[in-house]
C-alpha cells in the first residue's frame, strides 16, 4: 500500500490527541479528602470491568477515528500488482492504533498495559516495515528521476488499419504517439519495442536509452496485420524487462479495445503473465493507451472459401463456396464479388444488402486441368472500414490420377461371380480404359486389374497408390512381403476377403513381426435366412461421413449374405470403424507404417450380398480408394498460429525412403583388446550375408590385425525345423539369436550349434567376430533335414528400418510474402514427415515457399502449377474483423492478474512514465470507515453517559427520611 500524499501520514500522530487528553485529565487530578471511601471502593469493585471496557472502547474508537482520518488524507492506493496485500497492512495499522490507545486506558493495570504497548509497537513496526519494504521495492515509482525500463507494445493487428478522424490509420497514430512518448520521456528511461501481431515481433529486446535510435526504428515500422496476441506480447515484454537494468518497470500498450486480442477467458495464460511479471525486480506498471472501437462500424468480409470436395482431381469440375459476412454493426451492400483462379476471373453481382451478422454464399464452378497446387482468390471492391478482410485466398491441391491395382481372386468365374468385376467397373466405367494407362484419361482413379496368378509375379508395387485384394486366397511370401513393404512406405491396401480367402495366410501375414490384418478371420458364415445389415450409427470412417450424411443414400439397404466371423480380441476397438447390426465388426482400419490398411469382413461383390446393386456402391468405392490412395493430405491454408510450424508432407519420408532391405548391418571396430570397442564408422554398411575371407588383411579402413566386427539384423526362416548353424572362421566368433548364444567359435576352425526355429518368425541376429592376426575369415552356414548345408542366404536376412537420419537443424530457405517481403523459413524432417518453420514472424497474406532441390522429388506434387515453389496462405482470423470492444467484465478478469491503467489520453501515459503513480485508490473505502467510526463514537459516548447518569444532578434522598 502506498500513498499519494504520504506526508499526511504525519497526521497519524494525531491519534495521540485523544490519548493526551485522557492523560491530561488524569494528571489534573485534584486531591480530595474523602470520608465515604467505602462506598467508592464498593462502586469501583462492582463496576471495574465495565469502566475499563468503556474507557478502552472510547479511547480506541477515538484514536482509530483520528488515525483513519489521517490515512484518508494521505490518499492511499494499491499500486498495480502489489505483492503485499493492503489487507494485511491496513488492519495491522489499525490494530496498532487500537493497542496503543488501549494501553493508555489501562494505566492502572501494568501487566496489561505492557502487553498492549508491546502489541502496539509490534504492529507499528510490522506495518511500517511492510510499507517501507514495498516502498523500497517500488521506490523509483516515486522517484521522478525517470530511470525506468519501458516496453512499448504497439498493436499491429489488422483492426489498427482503420482510419481515424485525421485520415491516418490508427497504427500510424500509435507510431506517432509512441515516438512522441519516447522523445519527451525523462533522460534515464530505457525502451524496448514490441510490434504486436499473432506472434509478437520483438524489435528491440533489451531496453535502450538512445531515444533517437528508438524513434528512427519506430518510424520505419510497417503494419504486419493479423490479430494481436496480448498474452504473448506481455510474456515477451517480461523477457525484455528482465534484460533491463533499471529498478522500475513499465509496459505501455498502444492498442484498440478489440476484445479478441485479450483472451480474457484464458485465466491460465494470464496467471503465467502474472508469474512472469512477479519474477522481475518490481512488478511492472501496465499502462494502456486505448483507441476506441467505433460505434458505427461498416465492415464486410470474405469469411470463407470452401470447395465442394475434399479430394480434387483434374477429372471433373468442383464448386467453390465463397461466404461473405457483414462483420460491422450497420447494414452494408457488398457489391460485386470477384473470384480468380488459374488466371480466370469470374464475377458475381447477386449480392444484396446484408444485415448485421448476416452471411451470404456465392458459388463458383471451376475445372482444373493440371495437378499441383492452385490458388483461388475471392475479393470485394467495396470501401469499408477494414479493407484487409475484403479479400481471401485459398490454396487448392489438385491431385493426379490415382493408380489402383485390383487383384481378382476368382479369375475363372463369370463376371457376376467375379469379386473384382463390379469394383473395377465402379472405379472406371469405361471398359476399354481398364487395361490401358492413357495419360489423357479424364478419370481420377486409374484401376489396373490383374488376377491372383499374375500377382505372384509382382515384386514391386511402388508405382501404384493403392492395392485392392478382392477375395484373394493367398500369395507367396515374397509377394506378401513386398506388398507389406509397399504399405509401410505409404501405400494403401484394401482387403476384401470372400469365401475363398485363406484365414491362415491373412492371420499370419506379418512384416518384421508386425501383423498386418487388424482382424483375425475365423469362419466364413452364411446368413441367407437373416441377412446382416450395416449399423449406420457405428460407422465412424471420416471419409465416408460426408457420403453417409447425404440424403436418400441407401446404405442401410445393403444386405449381407456372407461374412467372416472374426476374432477381434487382439484388436484395438478404436480401429473398428463400422459394425453389422449384430454388433460384429464390419470394417477395420489400421495405420501401418506410413500407409493404411482397410480390412472388411465381407467382399464388395455380388457373391456376398447386394451391395453392387445399391446406388451408394460407386461413391462408396471411390471414397474408400481416395482414403487409401491419397498421398499425405497437406493443408496449406494456415492461420498465424499454424504457420509457425506446418507439415509439408506427412509420412512420405524425407529424401531417403525407409524400407525393408535384405542384409545385415555391419560395424567394424579398431581393436577388440580395448575394453570398449572404438567404432570405425567408415566401414559401417550393410552386408549381404556372412561370407568373408579377408585373407591376411582385413576389410577396408580396418586395421590388419586385432580388429573386431559385429553383424546385426533379423533372420526370418520360412520353414519350422531344427536348424544347425555352422561357424567357420579365424579367429573367433559368437552367434546369438534373440539374445541366446547358439554357436561359439573359440578358436580358428569350425563349430556348430543346433536350435529350433519357427517359420516366419523374426529372430534378432547378432554375430561378433574377432581377429587376432594372420588370416581373417568368417562364414556362417546352416542346414536342416530338408535344407542341405549352405551359406545362410541374403533373403532371410533383413535390417530393421533405418532410423530416420534427421537433418541436423533444418534446411534454410525462404518464402516471398506480401509486399514482396522475404520471410526466413526452414525445412525440418521429423520422423517420416517434412515440416516447414517460419523464422520471421508470420503476417496474413499469400506466400510462395522456395523448395531446395533435395526435396524436389518428394514435394513436387505440391508445387504450384508450372512453377517450383509451394504456395501457402495465412488467413486473417474472422474475430479480427469484428470490432467487439473489451467489456468491463472481461477487463476485470484480466486485471485480477495484472493491474492495468487504461486511458484515452496520451498525457496520462506521459505522466505515468514520469513516475506519477497510480493504482487502486482506497480512500473512499477508508472514508466510509471514518464515517462509521464517527457514528460509533457518538453512539458509544451517548450510551455511556446514559449509563453513568452524568447529566443528572442527583442527590440521595436524605432529610426526607426525618422521622
Amino acid at each position: 500500500m502506498l500513498f499519494f500524499n504520504i506526508w499526511f501520514l504525519l497526521g497519524l500522530l494525531m491519534i495521540s490527541v485523544p490519548v493526551i487528553i485522557h492523560l491530561l485529565n488524569r494528571k489534573s487530578a485534584k486531591d480530595v479528602m474523602w470520608g465515604a471511601i467505602q462506598f467508592l471502593l464498593d462502586s469501583i469493585n462492582s463496576r471495574r470491568q465495565k469502566i475499563l471496557l468503556e474507557e478502552i472502547l472510547l479511547l480506541v474508537v477515538r484514536c482509530m477515528l483520528v488515525g483513519l482520518l489521517a490515512l484518508v488524507m494521505a490518499r492511499p492506493f494499491i499500486p498495480s500488482g502489489s505483492g503485499l496485500p493492503w489487507l494485511v497492512v491496513l488492519p495491522l495499522g489499525l490494530l496498532g492504533i487500537a493497542s496503543f490507545a488501549a494501553s493508555f486506558a489501562l494505566l492502572d493495570y501494568p501487566i496489561w498495559r505492557k502487553r498492549m504497548i508491546a502489541a502496539a509497537i509490534a504492529c507499528a513496526i510490522l506495518a511500517s516495515g511492510l510499507v517501507g519494504l514495498q516502498k523500497w521495492l517500488n521506490f523509483s515509482i516515486f522517484g521522478s528521476s525517470g530511470k525506468r525500463d519501458v516496453v512499448l507494445v504497439i498493436d499491429g493487428s489488422t483492426s489498427m488499419s482503420r482510419l481515424n478522424e485525421s485520415g491516418i490509420s490508427y497504427f500510424e497514430q500509435a507510431l506517432q504517439e509512441a515516438m512522441e512518448l519516447v522523445e519527451e520521456s525523462p533522460r534515464g528511461a530505457a525502451f524496448s519495442i514490441i510490434l504486436g501481431s499473432d506472434v509478437p515481433h520483438v524489435l528491440e529486446a533489451a531496453p535502450i536509452i538512445e531515444h533517437r535510435r528508438l524513434t528512427e526504428k519506430l518510424g520505419m515500422l510497417q503494419q504486419p496485420g493479423g490479430e494481436l496476441n496480448m498474452l504473448d506480447c506481455l510474456a515477451a515484454a517480461s523477457i525484455c524487462l528482465s534484460q533491463g537494468n533499471n529498478a522500475s518497470k513499465q509496459v505501455v500498450i498502444f492498442a484498440d479495445e478489440q476484445a479478441c486480442s485479450w483472451q480474457s477467458s484464458s485465466s491460465s495464460g494470464w496467471k503465467m503473465v502474472n508469474k512472469a511479471f512477479k519474477k522481475l525486480s518490481t512488478f511492472p506498471q501496465v499502462t494502456w493507451r486505448t483507441y476506441a472501437v467505433p460505434v458505427n462500424y461498416r465492415n464486410v468480409s470474405v469469411s470463407d472459401i470452401s470447395p465442394s470436395r475434399d479430394i480434387i482431381g483434374a477429372d471433373r469440375a468442383v464448386n467453390f463456396d465463397v461466404t461473405i459476412e457483414n462483420t460491422g454493426n450497420e447494414a452494408i451492400t457488398p457489391g460485386i464479388l470477384f473470384f480468380e483462379i488459374d488466371g480466370k476471373k469470374m464475377t458475381d453481382n447477386t449480392l444484396g444488402q446484408l444485415d448485421v451478422g448476416e452471411e451470404a454464399t456465392v458459388s463458383f464452378k471451376h475445372r482444373f486441368l493440371d495437378s499441383g497446387t492452385h490458388i483461388a482468390k475471392a475479393y470485394l471492391t467495396t470501401t469499408d472500414e477494414l479493407s484487409a478482410d475484403n479479400e481471401r485466398q485459398y490454396v487448392v491441391p489438385v491431385v493426379n490420377r490415382l493408380s489402383v491395382l485390383v487383384v481378382e481372386g476368382r479369375p475363372g468365374d463369370n463376371f457376376i461371380k467375379k469379386s473384382a468385376g463390379f469394383l473395377t467397373l465402379a472405379l472406371l466405367p469405361n471398359q476399354e480404359q481398364i487395361i490401358s494407362m492413357d495419360d489423357s484419361s479424364e478419370y481420377l482413379v486409374q484401376p489396373v486389374e490383374i488376377t491372383s496368378l499374375q500377382l505372384s509375379k509382382i515384386t514391386d508395387f511402388s508405382m501404384y497408390n493403392a492395392v485392392i485384394l478382392a477375395d484373394v486366397q493367398r500369395m507367396p511370401f515374397s509377394v506378401s512381403s513386398a506388398l507389406a513393404s509397399f504399405v509401410k512406405k505409404g501405400g494403401g491396401l484394401l482387403v476384401l476377403p470372400g469365401e475363398k480367402a485363406e484365414p491362415k495366410f491373412y492371420n499370419e501375414w506379418k512384416y518384421n513381426d508386425e501383423a498386418l490384418m487388424p482382424l483375425k478371420l475365423v469362419k466364413w458364415t452364411k446368413h441367407y435366412e437373416e441377412p446382416l445389415k450395416p449399423a449406420l450409427a457405428t460407422f465412424r470412417v471420416e471419409t465416408l461421413a460426408r457420403l453417409l450424411s447425404e440424403k436418400d443414400n441407401d446404405f442401410t439397404t445393403w444386405l449381407i449374405k456372407g461374412a467372416w466371423d472374426v476374432d477381434d480380441s487382439a484388436c484395438d476397438p478404436n480401429k473398428i470403424e463400422g459394425r453389422y447390426n449384430s454388433g460384429r465388426p464390419l470394417v477395420a482400419v489400421e495405420q501401418f507404417g506410413n500407409g493404411k490398411i482397410i480390412q472388411l469382413t465381407t467382399p464388395l461383390d455380388a457373391n456376398a450380398g447386394n451391395i453392387v446393386s445399391r446406388k451408394i456402391y460407386v461413391p462408396l468405392v471411390h471414397q474408400i480408394v481416395y482414403a487409401l490412395a491419397m498421398p499425405s493430405r497437406t493443408d496449406l491454408n494456415l492461420t498465424s498460429l499454424t504457420a509457425e510450424n506446418f507439415a509439408l508432407s506427412v509420412g512420405l519420408g524425407g529424401f531417403e525412403n525407409s524400407g525393408l532391405s535384405h542384409g545385415l548391418k555391419s560395424m567394424f571396430y579398431k581393436s577388440h583388446k580395448e575394453t570398449k570397442y572404438s567404432l570405425l564408422t567408415k566401414t559401417s554398411k550393410s552386408v549381404k550375408n556372412i561370407d568373408f575371407d579377408w585373407k591376411n588383411k582385413g576389410p577396408k579402413y580396418a586395421p590388419v590385425d586385432t580388429f573386431a566386427a559385429v553383424f546385426e539384423g533379423i533372420i526370418t526362416p520360412t520353414v519350422s525345423d531344427e536348424y544347425e548353424f555352422i561357424l567357420e572362421g579365424d579367429d573367433r566368433a559368437v552367434l546369438w539369436l534373440d539374445g541366446r548364444e547358439i554357436v561359439n567359435l573359440k578358436n580358428s576352425g569350425t563349430i556348430s550349434g543346433k536350435t529350433k526355429l519357427v517359420a516366419n518368425k523374426a529372430y534378432k541376429f547378432r554375430l561378433k567376430y574377432e581377429e587376432d592376426s594372420g588370416s581373417a575369415t568368417i562364414r556362417l552356414y546352416w542346414q536342416t533335414a530338408n535344407i542341405p548345408k549352405e551359406i545362410v542366404p541374403q533373403i532371410y536376412f533383413s535390417m530393421p528400418p533405418k532410423e530416420q537420419k534427421n537433418l541436423p537443424t533444418g534446411i534454410k530457405t525462404f518464402a516471398i510474402g506480401p509486399n514482396e517481403k522475404k520471410f526466413q523459413m526452414s525445412i525440418n524432417q521429423q520422423g517420416t514427415s517434412l515440416y516447414a518453420q517460419m523464422k520471421t514472424p508470420p503476417v496474413p497474406g499469400a506466400f510462395k515457399l522456395e523448395i531446395p532441390t533435395m526435396f524436389a522429388d518428394t514435394l513436387s506434387w505440391l508445387f504450384e502449377y508450372k512453377s517450383d515453389f509451394i504456395p501457402f496462405v495465412i488467413s486473417l482470423n474472422k474475430e479480427e474483423s469484428l470490432m467487439s470492444a473489451l467489456s468491463d467484465g472481461e477487463l476485470a478478469d484480466v486485471t485480477k492478474f495484472v493491474d492495468i491503467m487504461s486511458t484515452s489520453k496520451l498525457e496520462d501515459v506521459k505522466a505515468s512514465i514520469e513516475g506519477k503513480s497510480f493504482g487502486k485508490e482506497i480512500w473512499r473505502f477508508l472514508a466510509v470507515g471514518v464515517l462509521f467510526l464517527v457514528l460509533a463514537e457518538i453512539v458509544l459516548s451517548r450510551w455511556i453517559a446514559v449509563q453513568r447518569r452524568t447529566g443528572k444532578e442527583e442527590r440521595v434522598q436524605f432529610e426526607e427520611n426525618a422521622t
Partner: protein, 307 residues
Amino acid sequence: MLETPSYMKLLPTETVATLGRLEFLAKGIMEGTISGRHRSPHKGFSVEFAEHRQYVPGDDLRNLDWRVLGRSDKYYIRQYVDETNLRATILVDASGSMKYRGEQSAVLDGKRLSKFEYAQHLAAALTYLLIHQQDAVGLVTFDTELRRYIPAKSKPSQIRQILQELEQTEPGGETSIPPIFHDIAERIHARGVVVIISDMFDSAEEIIKALHHFKYRRHEVIVLHVMAEEELTFPFNSFTRFKCLENPEIALPIDPKTLKAMYLDKVSSFLKTLENDCGKLKIEYIPMSTAKPYDTALAEYLTARRL
C-alpha cells in the same frame, strides 16, 4: 471579667438562646434517682424531699425553694425523690471520616463545619440542654476503640467536663462502630437514652445488630446521622484522587463520572437499610446534613419530638 473558656465556643449564645425554650423529653420511661421531668416507672406519688440543687437559669420556678432563698439569698431547686431523671449518653464518632468538611456545609464563625465539628456542636447543645433539665449526660468518644467514657452525671460541672472533652477530641483513626456499641451497651447499667452522633460509615448489618443490643438493654436510641452534602450528591466531575480520611494509604484516583451513579445508588441503599431497620427497632433515625445549621436542625428535631 472572666474569660470565656475555649470550650464554651461550643455553646454559642444563639444556640443557648435557641435551646432555651426547648426540652428534651425522654420518650420512654426512665429510671432515675432524682425527680425530674420524666415519668418514672415507679408508681405513686411520694413527694419526698431528696436534696437541693443549685438553681440554674431556666429551671422551673415551681420547684424553687423559696425558703432557702429567703434565708440565704441563694437559689436552690428542691428535688424530690419521685422525680426521675433522664440519663443520657452521647456517643460521638471521632473517626477519620468525620473530618470531612466539604464546601457546602453550614458556616460558623466564617468557617465551614466539618462533620465532626457539627457533631461537637450538636453534642454540646444536647449536653447543655440536658444538664439544664437536670438530666444526667454522659459522653463517649470513639473511633476503632473507645476513646473516652464520661459516665452520665447531672452535676452542672458535667457540662464543663463534656465540653472540654469534646473540644480536645481530634477526630482520626478508622471507624469501627459495632464493637463500640456493644461495649457501651454493656457499660451503661440503667436504662437511658443513647444518642449516637455519627456518619455511620460501617457495615449497616453490623451496626443494626449493635443497635439491637441497645434496645435489648431497653435504652432509647436516637441516631443522629450526620452526612456532608457532597457525600450525598457526589458532585465531582474531573479526575480526582480520593484520599481516605481514615487510612491515608488508600488513595483512589478515579474519574468520578464513571462511578457517580453507582456510588449514589450504594449510598442510597445504605441509607434506606439503616432507616428501615431503625424503624423496625423503634430507633429514632434523624438524618442531618451538615449543610443545615445544627441548631436549626436540632430545634426542628426537638420540636417534632415533643409532638
